[in-house]
Structures are given as structure tokens and as C-alpha cells.
């Protein structure tokens, strides 16, 4: 049975390798073993012991099995005594397991309640999931004097706890930034709380982790942590309305026209006015099942789009941003999408035929509503103009 | 469930063991039916009791759903508007009494008193029918007051719960009538008293479920 032994070794070996190596992964955007905030760290500290204990128990069981298999293989010995066992062994197992589990259980309870604590979080953000993107709305509060609505990237200040108030406009989603905290479901009709705190500036990847239909795989998000000062700058920029394009004849101007014609059906751009100068309010509620589409007022202040599935930045600009040191990061991110950096190709593809870039249900259902952005049959010129217009939404 | 119960009318499903009557060492334990069984119990009765145990979780789920949703009446009328306690009390009383007549049928059957067995079976079926009739009447009333099945969570869960119960009663009535018919035809061999008993168990269960529904759903205000 030598092959037997070798074959079986592989198994817990692997389990062990995983648990040990998982800690030291390079550039692993969603590694659950690399906490970057106090909440995630609490979890990480808690889980190391059970993982290693499990590894040990696993190896133990395997070792015993292999020993028995080898020692008691049929060598022609006599039929063994038909003994029915020895309760001590079972008592021993119970005791051993009970002790091990108690050692796991006690700290677990503590952490459960620590993570449920919310009083120490000064700032709150309403996080709303819908098929298949996240919307963040910052209510008026200390440091934010008028509400902010954005999507895809959750921007938070470093070094303080932000309280996320999670809910959903359609089905259940789940908000998860592995390096900052565990996940919490966004359940329609409920508001559930989740702590978020990042220690150092940077972009922390996350992904919707409750199956939410067709494009669940394309419902991603980032948490972007900025130093408090930078965060204040960001807030200031976001609270300002979009500046209307001065020259109607320019490409951007033509794009704005198209936008007013088509896109406002769903997309809000604060400060956009119609010909009578009345503010244009998006009618997403009558056009979409979820009743919402991303607010594009400061579209170019983000670096991803379509549920953070695609990068607004070209490859090299993106790598530059990702590689930025904590001190450089803030400025770089606040710079937004420099015209040279815009990932024009995919943005155009999106405008040409969004459902092709991201599976959605763009056709209207019986009560005339869609789930996702339809292909709008725009001409190439219109698309070019729109891109020019979108560039102005800094 | 009628499979299990009526099954025994052809009392053969445990026939597999008959031969034991002659050969099993426990010969004398077999008793009149020649069925040796490990627990000395009737397969059919044990099966019925297990089924009733299982039904507890079925109705438990439906009742919990109602309990969770009874307050959520949307725009529609709520419990306190629609319920007519006196009427429901009456029909509850009818169902309760049908339990009594069912017992009487069972004892009669055990006495091999065919006449009374038939009588009480019929009466039980009749009372059951009255109850179901009452439900139908009651629900039409609700409906006219604007409480459709889809009106609100309250209405959906109420109709689902009471509907399931109503279906159980109806099945019971069918079983009672089938048995009644079989009896006149004298078609059963074996122990018909047990069939009566089995249907009795089922019938009483339907009754106790109503005992709960009556209190939790009707008497306790939302």
C-alpha cells in the first residue's frame, strides 16, 4: 500500500499549505488573509487559530489512518479478537474536541459583538445595491454640507470608522471588501449596518457576493480610502454641480444635447437644465425595475464603470494608480481621469451596446421597465460626441 | 394520505409476513391476524402516526408564515375588520363535535357494530361537510369585503393556511365516504375496525390543527 500512503499525503499537505501561505500572497486584490483595516484584522486574528488547529487535526487524523493502514494490513495474522471497543477512546475524543472547540468559541463570541458595535462610527453612507451595480449616497452630515450620490467606488476617509447602511432596490446583494471587513447582505426592505475602516490610502477591491441574477459576476465595487484632507477635497468636488458646456457647437456640446435627449431618461447629471432652463431630473423610476441608474454628475472622478467591471483608465494609467505609494495616491486619484488616460475603447463599446459588454435584460417587461442599460442605437458620431461630453463631467 | 389509510382495506400490505404465522418461533405473538411484528404494533397505525408527526411541521410552517405576516394588510382590510368570531366559533364547534362522532364510529367498529359504525361515519362526514361549507361561505364573505387572495400578505397567508386545512378536511370527508361505501358493499376483508381507526386518527388531527388555528388566527387580535 505504499502508493496509498503517498497518495493520501497530498491532501492535508495542501490544506496546510493553503492556510500558511495564504497570509503572504502578492498582489492578491481580494485576499481574505491580508487585512487592511481594524475590523478585517479582528477577523483575521480570530481565524488563525481555528485554521491552524484544523490543519493539525487533519494531519493527525491522516497520520493515524496511514499508520493503521500500514501496521494492520493483512499479513496473515489470526482473526483478531472480536472486541467491541473501549469507551475511554470516545470520552477522550469528546473531551479533546470539546476543549478545542471551547478555545475557538470564546473569542468568537467576543468578535461577533465587537463587529456589531456601531456607536463609534461618526460618518455614515447609504449603500444601495441593484442589478448590477452599487450606489453610494452620502447624507448631509459633519463635513458634508450637501448630499452626494455616486456609484461603483465607495470613497471613505482613512483612520475613521464609516458606517454603511446597506439596502437593495431589487434582489439580495452582498457588500464585501475583503481587506476591510466581512460581507453583509443588502436585503431589500431592510437596512443593515456594516463597519468600514481603512488604515492606509488606496483602492480596496470587492465584489457582490450574494447571487443576484444574470450579471452577478459583473457586480463589483471598490472602496477608495483617502487621507482626511484629500477626502474633504473630494467631498467639495462632488457637492459641486456639473458645469454646463459653454460651446453648443463643440463636440461636447453636441454630446450634451444627445445626453439630454436620451440619457436623462435614466441618468441624473446635477445642474443639467433643459432649454427652458428647468433642471432635468432623470426618470429612472419609470424606466428601470430598480428605479435607478448611476448618477453621472462626476463620472470622470471615478476610475471604473459599469459596476466596476471595466476600468475608465487605460492600462498604464491604471497600473500607475494601483502602484502609487500611500502618499502619492490621494493626489493621483483626485486628479480623476486625465484626458490621456481615458479608456475610450471600452467606454465607446459600452455606449454602442451595453448589454454586449455586460449581460443585462435591456428589453422592457410588461410594465415597460428594463433591467440594465439598453443598446441605444447611437451613431458613431453621437458616441464620439457623448464621450467628449462625459469627459467634461469631472 | 388516503393511500396509507384505505390501503389497509385490502389489508395485504403486511401480508408479506403471514407465513411467519406458521413458522416464526414467536408464533403465538402473532395474534388473530397472524402478523408477527417486532413491536407488536400495526404497520398502518405506526405509519399514520409518523405521517401525523410530519404534518406538524407542515402546518407549523404555514402557521408561522401567517403569524409573521398577519399584521401586513397593505391597503386591504385587516383581521379585525373581516373576522366574524361568532360564526367561526359555530363552525369550530361543528368540527369539534365531528371528532366526537368519529370516536363513536371507531368504538362501534371495534364492537363490530356495523350499523352504528355506518351511522357515525356518515354523521362525521356530514359535520365535516358543514364545516367546509361554512369556510366557503366565510371566505366569500371576506372576498366581498375586498380581501382577495392577493390583496395583502395577510390575506395570502390566511387563505393559504386555512386553505391547506380545508383541503385536509375535504380529503378526510372523501375517505369517510369511501369507507362508508366500502362497508355497505362488504368488500373489505381483514380488520376494518382498524381502517376506521386510521381515518379517525387523521380526522382528529385535522381537528386539533383547527383548535390551534381558531385560537391563534381568529381569537388573538393582530
Amino acid at each position: 500500500m505504499t502508493s496509498n500512503r503517498r497518495g493520501l499525503w497530498a491532501i492535508p499537505g495542501l490544506a496546510l499549505v493553503v492556510t500558511i501561505l495564504a497570509g503572504c500572497a502578492k498582489n492578491a486584490p481580494q485576499d481574505t488573509w491580508q487585512p487592511a483595516g481594524p475590523d478585517a484584522r479582528k477577523i483575521d486574528d480570530l481565524q488563525r487559530f481555528p485554521f491552524y488547529a484544523a490543519g493539525v487535526v487533519g494531519v493527525l487524523v491522516l497520520a493515524v489512518v496511514i499508520f493503521v493502514v500500514w501496521k494492520y494490513r493483512d499479513r496473515g495474522q489470526a482473526i483478531p479478537h472480536q472486541g467491541h471497543g473501549n469507551p475511554l477512546v470516545e470520552v477522550g475524543t469528546i473531551a479533546f474536541s470539546a476543549i478545542l472547540l471551547a478555545a475557538v468559541a470564546v473569542p468568537t463570541v467576543g468578535v461577533i459583538f465587537d463587529l456589531a458595535e456601531t456607536d463609534d462610527c461618526k460618518m455614515t453612507v447609504n449603500v444601495t445595491g441593484q442589478q448590477w451595480w452599487w450606489e453610494y449616497s452620502y447624507p448631509q452630515q459633519a463635513g458634508i454640507d450637501s448630499p452626494i450620490v455616486t456609484s461603483g467606488q465607495l470613497v471613505i476617509p482613512t483612520g475613521e470608522c464609516v458606517l454603511l447602511r446597506l439596502t437593495s432596490r431589487d434582489v439580495i446583494h452582498s457588500f464585501w471588501i475583503p481587506k476591510l471587513n466581512g460581507k453583509k447582505d443588502a436585503v431589500p426592505g431592510r437596512i443593515q449596518l456594516l463597519r468600514m475602516e481603512a488604515e492606509t490610502p488606496g483602492i480596496y477591491a470587492g465584489q457582490c457576493s450574494e447571487f443576484c441574477g444574470l450579471s452577478h459576476a459583473n457586480m463589483k465595487m471598490d472602496a477608495v480610502a483617502l487621507r482626511p484632507a484629500d477626502f474633504a477635497t473630494w467631498v467639495a468636488a462632488q457637492t459641486a454641480p456639473a458645469v454646463a458646456v459653454s460651446d453648443q457647437e463643440s463636440a461636447a456640446g453636441r454630446g450634451e444635447a444627445v445626453f439630454k435627449g436620451q440619457c436623462v431618461l435614466c441618468h441624473q447629471v446635477n445642474g443639467l437644465v433643459d432649454d427652458e432652463g428647468k433642471p432635468l431630473i432623470a426618470q429612472a423610476d419609470i424606466n428601470l425595475v430598480s428605479g435607478a441608474a448611476p448618477n453621472l454628475t462626476h463620472f470622470m472622478s471615478r476610475t471604473t464603470f459599469a459596476g466596476s467591471t471595466y476600468s475608465l483608465l487605460t492600462e498604464e494609467c491604471r497600473t500607475k494608480l494601483m502602484a502609487a505609494l500611500p502618499d502619492e495616491f490621494g493626489a493621483l486619484y483626485l486628479g480623476g481621469v486625465e484626458s490621456g488616460c481615458l479608456n475610450v475603447v471600452e467606454l465607446k463599446e459600452w455606449l454602442r451596446n451595453a448589454p454586449d459588454k455586460k449581460p443585462m435584460y435591456p428589453d422592457t417587461n410588461e410594465d415597460g421597465k428594463r433591467r440594465g442599460m439598453p443598446a441605444l442605437g447611437l451613431t458613431e458620431n453621437q458616441i464620439n460626441d457623448l464621450v467628449e461630453y462625459l469627459k467634461t463631467l469631472k | 394520505m388516503s393511500e396509507l389509510a384505505v390501503d389497509t382495506s385490502s389489508g395485504h400490505d403486511s401480508a408479506a409476513l403471514d407465513s411467519r404465522h406458521d413458522h416464526a418461533p414467536h408464533d403465538d405473538h402473532g395474534g388473530g391476524h397472524g402478523h408477527y411484528t417486532s413491536l407488536g404494533l400495526s404497520n398502518n397505525k405506526l405509519g399514520m402516526w409518523l405521517f401525523l408527526g410530519s404534518e406538524c411541521l407542515l402546518f407549523g410552517g404555514l402557521i408561522s408564515t401567517y403569524m409573521l405576516y398577519r399584521g401586513r394588510t397593505a391597503k386591504g382590510p385587516g383581521p379585525n375588520q373581516v373576522y366574524d368570531i361568532p360564526f367561526t366559533s359555530a363552525s369550530s364547534f361543528v368540527l369539534l363535535m365531528s371528532s366526537l362522532t368519529m370516536v363513536l364510529a371507531v368504538t362501534a367498529a371495534k364492537r363490530r357494530d356495523d350499523g352504528n359504525t355506518r351511522l357515525w361515519l356518515s354523521v362525521t362526514a356530514l359535520l365535516g361537510a358543514m364545516f367546509v361549507g361554512g369556510q366557503v361561505y366565510e371566505f366569500t364573505g371576506f372576498y366581498n369585503e375586498g380581501l382577495g387572495f392577493t390583496t395583502s400578505l395577510f390575506s395570502s397567508s390566511l387563505y393559504t393556511l386555512t386553505g391547506f386545512h380545508g383541503v385536509h378536511v375535504t380529503v378526510g370527508i372523501m375517505m369517510l365516504m369511501a369507507l362508508r361505501g366500502i362497508l355497505t358493499k362488504n368488500r373489505i376483508v381483514g380488520d376494518k375496525a382498524e381502517v376506521v381507526e386510521l381515518i379517525g386518527l387523521y380526522w382528529h388531527f385535522v381537528d386539533i390543527i383547527w383548535i390551534i388555528i381558531f385560537t391563534l388566527v381568529y381569537l388573538i387580535p393582530a
Binding site: V68, L101, I112, V187 | E3, S10, T37, L50
Partner: protein, 664 residues
């Protein structure tokens, strides 16, 4: 059905003085004992057991094929094999098929075949209901899968969370098929559980007290109780779902004020007991196999029984560990976290007792034994990752990632499936009188061990690296670099799936080759310990010529071996052949077995008809309903025995039982 029962004096006894004629009811019972009819109308537990097994295995191949497509899609970033929509249907049906159409019915097959044999009975308590159960399972399974051809299968994941399952978010009929199909297979499980519980409790051979019962039978008993109480819960959930989708109720419609968590609770109250329903039969099988090939009794039999019952019991108090991220509040989370950890203890006892069973034994590494040992190891790995889930804060990092997928494939494939394959190799000679080829068997085993660890091992890494489950694609921008590169591990996993496939094809080849070969298996090839071996292989239609009277746990072994007072060693005192001879010499006469019946089949067929009606048109519902009522009456009114003239040649009504043909 080979034996037609005859009227006997005592069946005609009683005050109602009716003669045999009048007692025959309205409709004749079928008497075919060969050809396709004998399969359609059989009520024989062994025949039904085989039918369960064969059907389930076909569904295993279907579910496996779906799995292969999943792995193919994930072998590359931005896989193009399946569309997002097709992928979602694929994993939903993969899980549904594997859980409800393979593992559960396969266990039901083993239970049907071997429980009556192990307890020394001639059939189950309610043979017709048994047949009805099988046809429900088949009807439900075909109904479910017919959705592939009728506008797409269910696409909500196997736990079908609301509100994503509502018509607004899942417009195709897939979810309707899913809900109604599972409702139908649920009937099979419920009737089956009642049937087996009664059989086990009430039809044991004389002298077989509960604590002398074979351990497999014990585990089946526990499982049937779990089914008895768990099935009604999902029945409620499925009804609510169907009523919402079909009649416009709003049970999970948030805009109407509903709470989507209601579904989660109902599903998982069923769902967690369900996972033990899946694994305990396999625990039972290996608890039979290990002693046989260690030539020792099961170590601490009472503890294994007790821990099995304990697992079943505690299993009811942990369901919310599937909802740690749903927002239950810290108190509930704590409670369910702790109760979940508790379950590790009884399961640990089982593992230890299995190891101790081998300890000091005389081990023979047959394929059956290898699979049993494989189960100990692989299941432990899965169980341990389960314990890491039970630490709810870290579960919030794990839930809905591939780490969970790794966990449950280790417990399901390394637990349930390994046990089932162990059972195949162990009981094949009993069922078919043929031994599966051991060389191919070992190849089969090693391919499956290597394959499963390659497939599911990497999923631990993928999950801890944050790859969520149920993603039809993963993109290059987040797959990371170096050792933890997601693409690499996904490819290993996909490769492993192919190896698994080869392993399973090897098994199929083995089966085909064995079927071609001669039926020359010895009567007692493994020197086994329990009663099912105290009859011919395949067993006689009436199982035992003489119902044995039991005096030991492992009765069959103790008939063969006795301890030599002098040396204190076990010595053989009889061979299986000799024991068989004794049986045949005092064979009982006049054995009554239930006759075949049309009604189980007809009644079961009525259900999918009704179900199609619910989806497509109301008239069909009426048709189905009438079919149901009629067949129930037919069922009730059919005679308890065949008409004399049904027998060939017609027998005098007082004659002894007439055997028409040996069982297939």
C-alpha cells in the same frame, strides 16, 4: 413480482363472512413476472431498489456533465463556453440534480434493497407505496429536466433565494419547474421515510433488538426521521413560491411588505438536515464495510449509533449558519455559531471509531475498503473546513466564496459519493451475483481520489483569495499574481474534473465488463457479517427461505465463527454454503408476497400531468386531479390477491403458493 399470494384462511376470517371471490375487489392485479411489465408494476423492494439506483446513476452522469461544463467555462478568464444565463442554469441544475436526483435516491435505492434484507424481512411495510415513491422520483426528475427543452431551466441557485426567484426577476418557467419538480420528488421522500421507518421498527426478525440492528439500517433509520420532519418544511416553502409565481401571492415580494429572509429560514430549516440526509447513509455503508475488511466488529457500535442520532438531532439547531451574512443580529449569530461547533463532536466520534475499528484488525484493501478509508480522510478535511465556517466572523469572509464550494464538495464527494461507491463495490456481488473487477476498481478509486483533490482542493485557495461562487466568469484584472493566481488554480481544478470524469468512466467500463462476464461470485465473497448475506446472490424473491432468529449483532458472522475456548481465537464453524443449505432444507412453504399493482405508476404519472397543468393550462390540472382521485380509488379497491385464473396454470384456491418465475 415472482410470487402471487393466495387467499388464506385467516385473511378471510372475521364477522363479515365473505368468500374469496367477493374479497377480490374490483380490478384484477397484474401478474406479469417477466418483461417490461414486471418492471412497471412491480412492488418488490429489490427490484425497486435497483430501479432507484440505476435511475439515480443516470442523473449522476447528467449532473456531472453539467459540472464539467461549469469547469470548462471557468478554465479560462472570461470563459466563452457558456453564456451568463446558461451558466446560471447550469450550476442551479447541477446542484439540484446531484442532491435531489442522485445522492438522495441513490441512498433510497440502497435502503430499499438492503434494509429489508438486513432486518430479515420479506419486503417493506408498504410495498405499493414503495413503488409509488420510485415513480414519483422518476416523474419529478424527468419533469425537472424537461425544463431544459421548455424555455430554460431554473437559474436562481439551488437555494433559490427570494426575491430573485420571483417572476419579475426570473421570468422563464424554470423556477416553476424547479418548485413543482422538487414537490413531486418530495412526495417520494416522505412516503419512503414512513415506509422505511415502519419497516425498520416493526418488521425486524425475531430477536433483533434495536441494538442488534446492522449499523447501516440504523443510519437509514436516522435519515428517514430527518426526511420525515424536513420534507414538510421545504414543501411549505415550495408552495409559497409556487403560489407567488402562479397565483400572484406576495410572500416574498418586498414591495408588498414581505421579508425575503422568510424563504431563507424555511429553506435552511430543511436544508441543513438535508446535508446530513445526504451523508449519513454513506456513513452507514462505510460502517458496514470497515468491520468486514478489518475482520473486527465496529468499534463502539453503541457510540456510532448514538452519535448518528445526535448528529441528526443537533442538525435541527444549526440552520442559520447559512445566514451569517444575512443580518440576523449578533445574538442569533452567536447561538447558531456555537450550536454549529457542537456538531463537530458527534461527527468526530464517528471518525475516531472508524479508525479504531481498523486498529488491531486484519485489513484487506479491496476497492470497497479503499473507498471507505478515502471517506474517512476526505470527509475529515471537509468537516474541518466546516468548523472554520462555524466561526461566524470568519464565515463572513468565506460565505459565498469558493471556500464554501470546497467545503461542501469535500463532504459531499469525499463523504456521500465515496460511501456510495464503497457500497457499489461491496454489495455488487449481492445484487448481481457478479464481482466487480478489482483492478479496474482500484484504478477507479485512485483516479477519483486524485481527481477530487485536484478539483476541490484548489477551491480552498480560490475562496480564501476572494473568488465568489456562482460567477460565470472571472476577469484578468483581479486574478492576482504569483502562487495565488486565480487563473492557475482554476485550471488545476478544471483539470481535476476531467480526471474525475475518467475515473467515473472507468467505473462504467467496469460495470459493463462485469455484466458481460459470468455470474460466478461466491456466496460470501467478503466473509461478511450481516444478514443480507444469509441468502442467495441475487437474493431469492422472498429473501429468506427461513426468517432467521437473531441472537447477535453481526449475526451472520457469529453463525460462521465461534471463539475457541482453549486458544481464545475465532475459528470458523460453518461456511456460508452450509448455512444456505440449512435454510433451503427447512424452507418455509406458502409464503405470501404482495402482488404487483398498476396504481402506483398511474398515480405517480398523474402528478407531472397536474404540474404541467399548473404551468401551462388549467384543463390539464383537472385531468391530473381526476387521474389522482381515480387511481387512489383503484388503489383502495384492488384485491389483496390475484385471481386464481391469473395464475399459470390456474391453481386451486387452497393450494400452496405458486412460484411463476425467478426474479430478474
Amino acid at each position: 413480482m415472482a410470487i402471487i399470494e393466495r387467499p388464506t384462511g385467516e385473511m378471510l376470517r372475521g364477522p363479515v363472512g365473505v368468500g374469496p371471490r367477493a374479497s377480490l375487489g374490483m380490478y384484477r392485479r397484474p401478474v406479469e413476472t417477466t418483461g417490461w411489465r414486471s418492471w412497471l408494476f412491480t412492488v418488490d423492494h429489490k427490484q425497486l431498489g435497483l430501479m432507484y439506483g440505476i435511475t439515480a446513476f443516470v442523473f449522476f452522469l447528467v449532473g456531472g456533465l453539467e459540472a464539467l461544463l461549469i469547469r470548462l467555462q471557468l478554465a479560462q478568464p472570461n470563459g466563452k463556453v457558456l453564456s451568463a444565463d446558461a451558466y446560471n442554469q447550469m450550476f442551479t441544475m447541477h446542484a439540484t440534480t446531484m442532491v435531489f436526483l442522485f445522492v438522495m435516491p441513490m441512498a433510497a435505492g440502497f435502503a430499499n434493497y438492503f434494509v429489508p434484507l438486513q432486518v430479515g424481512a420479506r419486503d417493506v411495510a408498504f410495498p405499493r407505496i414503495n413503488a409509488f415513491g420510485y415513480w414519483c422520483f422518476l416523474a419529478g426528475g424527468l419533469f425537472l429536466n424537461s425544463s431544459w427543452l421548455l424555455g430554460g431551466a431554473a437559474d436562481g441557485g439551488w437555494f433559490m433565494y427570494a426575491p430573485n426567484s420571483s417572476a419579475l426577476f426570473s421570468p422563464s418557467h424554470g423556477v416553476d419547474f424547479w418548485a413543482l419538480g422538487l414537490q413531486i420528488t418530495g412526495i417520494a421522500s416522505l412516503t419512503g421515510s414512513i415506509n422505511l421507518i415502519v419497516t425498520i421498527l416493526n418488521m425486524r426478525a425475531p430477536g433483533m433488538s434495536l441494538m442488534k440492528m446492522p449499523i447501516f439500517t440504523w443510519m437509514i433509520l436516522v435519515v428517514q426521521f430527518l426526511l420525515l420532519f424536513a420534507v414538510p418544511v421545504i414543501t411549505v416553502a415550495l408552495f409559497l413560491l409556487s403560489f407567488q409565481r402562479t397565483f400572484g401571492a406576495t410572500f416574498f415580494d418586498v414591495s408588498a411588505g414581505a421579508d425575503p429572509l422568510l424563504w431563507q429560514h424555511l429553506f435552511w430549516i430543511f436544508g441543513h438536515p438535508e446535508v446530513y440526509i445526504l451523508v449519513l447513509p454513506s456513513f452507514g455503508i462505510v460502517s458496514e464495510v470497515l468491520p468486514v475488511f478489518s475482520r473486527k466488529p465496529l468499534f463502539g457500535y453503541p457510540m456510532v449509533v448514538f452519535s448518528g442520532a445526535a448528529i441528526g438531532f443537533v442538525g435541527w439547531g444549526v440552520w442559520a449558519h447559512h445566514m451569517f451574512a444575512s443580518g440576523l443580529g449578533p445574538v442569533s449569530v452567536t447561538v447558531f455559531s456555537l450550536s454549529t461547533m457542537l456538531i463537530a463532536i458527534p461527527t468526530g466520534i464517528k471518525i475516531i471509531n472508524w479508525v479504531m475499528t481498523m486498529w488491531g484488525g486484519k485489513l484487506r484493501f479491496t476497492t470497497a475498503m479503499l473507498f471507505a478509508i478515502g471517506l474517512i480522510v476526505e470527509f475529515t478535511i471537509g468537516g474541518l473546513s466546516g468548523v472554520t465556517h462555524s466561526v461566524s466572523p470568519s464565515d463572513t469572509q468565506q460565505t459565498d466564496t469558493y471556500y464554501i464550494v470546497a467545503h461542501f464538495h469535500y463532504v459531499l464527494f469525499g463523504g456521500a459519493i465515496f460511501g456510495i461507491f464503497s457500497g457499489f463495490y461491496y454489495w455488487w456481488p449481492k445484487m448481481f451475483g457478479r464481482l466487480l473487477d478489482e483492478k479496474l476498481g482500484k484504478l477507479n478509486f485512485w483516479l477519483m481520489v486524485i481527481g477530487m483533490n485536484m478539483t476541490f482542493g484548489p477551491m480552498h485557495i480560490l475562496g480564501l483569495q476572494g473568488q465568489p461562487r456562482r460567477m460565470y466568469r472571472y476577469t484578468t484584472d483581479r486574478i492576482g499574481e504569483g502562487f495565488f493566481n486565480l487563473k492557475f488554480w482554476n485550471q488545476i481544478s478544471s483539470l481535476g474534473a476531467l480526471i474525475l470524469a475518467v475515473g467515473i468512466i472507468v467505473f462504467i467500463v467496469n460495470v459493463v465488463r462485469t455484466a458481460r462476464g459470468p455470474a460466478n461470485a461466491p456466496l460470501d465473497p467478503w466473509d461478511a457479517r450481516s444478514l443480507e448475506w444469509l441468502t442467495t446472490s441475487p437474493p431469492k424473491v422472498h429473501n429468506f427461505d427461513v426468517i432467521p432468529t437473531v441472537s447477535h449483532l453481526d449475526e451472520f458472522f457469529h453463525l460462521k465463527y465461534a471463539e475457541n475456548e482453549a486458544t481464545g481465537e475465532m475459528e470458523r464453524v460453518a461456511t456460508a454454503e452450509e448455512l444456505m443449505k440449512i435454510q433451503e432444507d427447512n424452507a418455509e412453504q406458502n409464503i405470501h408476497l404482495p402482488a404487483p399493482s398498476y396504481w402506483p405508476l398511474i398515480l405517480a404519472l398523474a402528478l407531472p400531468v397536474t404540474a404541467y397543468g399548473v404551468i401551462y393550462n388549467k384543463i390539464l390540472i383537472a385531468v391530473g386531479a381526476t387521474m389522482i382521485v381515480l387511481s387512489i380509488f383503484g388503489w383502495a379497491l384492488e384485491p389483496s390477491m390475484a385471481d386464481d385464473s391469473d395464475l399459470e396454470p390456474p391453481a386451486p384456491s387452497d393450494g400452496p403458493t405458486k412460484e411463476l418465475a425467478p426474479i430478474v
